[in-house]
């Protein structure tokens, strides 16, 4: 996991500005990256999320109000049908009492004819007919329950009291004497002599049930009737038993059809629509389960959320990759720029050192030559003159002067050789001699630190067509680099191998080695493990560039704790640069 993170981590992540100064904040790549990502995410995602939320709410509300409206419409239609059904029967009875005299109604045969005609004309609904006199006593009865209802006294029954009071009456559903749920429609006829009688008919509630069950319902919806006390008048599957109190709250009175969202006793959301049926004790209830109705919306909602999540993921991924790519390119460009600056600085420093060294060497060389000649002359004089020739002390002094001059001469010669030609200049170079020359500068350090140096390049190694000063710098850098990695008693080995038309020079040390993670970064500018010890992190990158400038290649192999080998491949001939060769 951590190694994956490390692989994904962009190059600029660990960058810290070493230079400092006025515009450092412009090169805080991590900051730039974070700022770009958050700004771009905000600008793209916020409107998307806001629009989605608004649309979500709007759609949900539209669907909910649509559900309420549809439920309300069903209720309203059902109310009209129910109301019509009951009123129609009520006025049929009213018509009968006005059309027939009390006597003719009390004629059982005639009444039976009327019932038959009613049943035919109204397609059922009228179960029976009975005529009840002002005392509440049943005078005449026609219908299927003749044997049980004959001569009944209804005077104490609540419906009788109501019909006497109001003239017309529709009762609650009740079991009555017949133990079958039914309701009673009764009309009173006021006779001219002040007396009255009542025409009563039972209506089987199965007709009402039929009407309600034929309503088209969705979402486990049910239509049923309760009376004003909340007693169920028609059967229902979910909200209580017939003729018992319903589990739902009795809705408040309203003349219009109402619809609202309520919760049942278990907290389940319900869509409840109701209507008070005028001139009856009935309340029509239409109850639907909201969850069922919303199911198609939940499906759509899942798709909407899925799409949103997908979009956000894609947008974030694109933003992340594009930003990382761009900031990384910015970083690489900046590194190249810095590298270029440092390279120019380094080159000009080398050129200055070169000029300085050459100047000093040249200036010292002349007096040195004079000292050499004078000492030589003294030696000649001593050798020629008898009195001094045998004085070993004088001869030793002169020899010592001459040998010191020779040492100085070697130093000035090296300095001059090293400092010459700052620009590209192609020569045929004996690589062994060149490395020996470079080693002569570092020889003292090796001696002091007891580092053994092994030069394993054959004398007859073919000459390389290349730029001398660049080769010197390359090997000086590699040898210094090796020295920095080594401890006392470690060994530096420089060997060569000829391969086709190139020579591979290997600079191997037995030093501390490079961790595998850092191995592919050693040629990166400013990557240094010894920054605290004065390393610039530029030695190897400059070496890398120099090797490539002269058409070569450099590779590194290392085992931590065992040592490092840099392999420099040098072409024997330089392509396209022959015109410069002497």
């Amino acid at each position: 996991m951590i190694s994956l993170l490390r692989k994904l981590r962009p190059q600029f992540w660990d960058h810290s500005e070493q230079a400092g100064g006025l515009f450092t904040h412009m090169f805080n790549f991590r900051q730039i990256w974070k700022l770009s990502i958050s700004l771009m995410s905000a600008v793209t995602l916020l409107p998307l999320i806001i629009i989605t939320l608004v649309d979500y709410n709007f759609t949900q509300r539209a669907i909910e109000s649509d559900i309420l409206m549809r439920t309300s419409r069903i209720t309203s239609n059902a109310k009209r049908s129910l109301s019509f059904f009951l009123t129609e029967r009520k006025y049929a009875l009213d018509f009968l009492v006005h059309d027939n005299s009390f006597d003719s109604l009390n004629d059982e045969e005639h009444l039976a004819d009327i019932l038959e005609n009613l049943q035919k004309g109204f397609g059922g609904g009228f179960e029976d007919l009975s005529v009840i006199d002002a005392d509440g006593r049943q005078r005449t009865y026609v219908g299927p329950y003749n044997y049980r209802l004959e001569g009944r006294d209804y005077s104490k029954q609540p419906w009788f009291e109501k019909v006497v009071e109001k003239g017309m009456y529709i009762s609650d559903v009740f079991m009555g004497f017949r133990e079958i749920p039914h309701l009673v429609i009764a009309v009173k006829y006021q006779m001219p002599d002040g007396s009255f009688y009542v025409l009563r008919s039972s209506v089987n509630t199965s007709r009402l049930n039929d009407m309600l069950s034929k309503l088209e319902m969705s979402g486990k919806g049910e239509a049923f009737i309760i009376n004003r006390q909340g007693i169920l008048q028609t059967p229902t599957r979910y909200y209580g038993n017939m003729l018992e109190k319903t589990s739902l709250k009795i809705p408040a009175f309203s003349e219009k059809t109402e619809a609202a969202e309520k919760k049942d006793s278990s907290g389940m959301p319900l869509i409840i629509s109701y209507a008070y049926i005028p001139d009856t004790p009935f309340i029509l209830m239409v109850v639907k389960q909201k969850e069922e109705l919303m199911k198609p919306w939940y499906q759509t909602r899942m798709e909407l959320i899925g799409f949103l999540v997908f979009s956000i993921t894609v947008i974030l991924m694109v933003i992340f990759h594009v930003t990382t790519y761009m900031v990384n390119n910015l970083y690489i460009a900046d590194q190249k720029r810095l590298m270029g600056l440092h390279e120019v600085e380094y080159a000009s420093k080398m050129a200055s050192i070169g000029r300085l060294a050459a100047g000093i060497a040249h200036e010292i060389n002349n007096p040195l030559a004079i000292i050499n000649e004078k000492a030589g002359l003294m030696k000649d004089l001593f050798t020629l003159k008898k009195e001094y020739a045998d004085d070993p002390r004088l001869n030793n002094i002169i020899d010592s002067i001459i040998s010191s001059v020779k040492r100085c001469a070697i130093i000035t010669k090296r300095l001059l050789a090293f400092a010459r030609h700052p620009d590209v200049h192609i020569q045929h170079i004996h690589i062994r001699e060149l490395i020996r020359e470079v080693l002569s500068f570092t020889g003292k350090e090796a001696e002091y630190r007891s580092i053994c140096v092994e030069l394993d390049i054959p004398e007859d190694v073919p000459r390389v067509e290349s730029d001398r000063s660049k080769l010197q710098q390359i090997f000086l850098n590699l040898i210094n680099n090796a020295f920095a990695a080594m401890d006392t008693e470690d060994c530096l080995r420089i060997s060569s191998e000829q391969k086709d038309d190139s020579i591979i020079v290997r600079v191997s040390d037995s030093g501390c080695g490079i961790p595998p993670g850092d191995l592919n970064r050693v040629f990166e500018p400013f990557f240094s493990t010894k920054t605290k010890k004065g390393g610039t992190g530029l030695g190897l990158p400059i070496t890398y560039n120099l090797v490539h400038e002269i058409g070569g290649n450099i590779e590194v192999q290392s085992t931590e704790g065992e040592g490092t080998t840099f392999s420099v491949t040098l072409p024997l001939t330089m392509k396209g640069k022959e015109e410069n060769s002497p």
Partner: protein, 116 residues
């Protein structure tokens, strides 16, 4: 054997001439090219030892003029640089180069080479 020595450093050239004289050579020294040319007009010389870098007339130019006057004259150049190109350019023309400070042994060896 007459040897012409030319170098702008008087101390160097005079001492070198003295050391050659001590070894039996007829050495004449000059600190500039013009004096050497004047002398060469009158006297025939076998060998000239010339510094490459001198003011006014450089060693190579002096060699050209001297060779015109005395085509049989041999030359040895002295140089402070000892650079490879100078060496290669010089040896291609058949001249000898010695790098300053000059080892008297090397110089004598060269002279003996020409004497043979």
């Amino acid at each position: 054997m007459k040897i012409l020595l030319v170098d702008d450093e008087q101390e160097l050239v005079s001492t070198l001439a003295e050391r050659l004289e001590m070894r039996g050579f007829d050495a004449h020294w000059f600190t500039n090219g013009n004096a050497a040319l004047q002398y060469a007009q009158k006297e025939k010389c076998d060998l000239a030892v010339l510094d490459v870098k001198m003011p006014k007339i450089g060693g190579l130019e002096l060699q050209r003029q001297l060779a015109e006057m005395q085509p049989r004259m041999k030359f040895i150049f002295l140089t402070g640089h000892g650079s490879e190109e100078d060496y290669l350019a010089g040896t291609r023309k058949g001249h000898s180069y010695l790098i300053k400070p000059v080892d008297i042994g090397q110089l004598l060896a060269k002279i003996n080479e020409f004497l043979r």
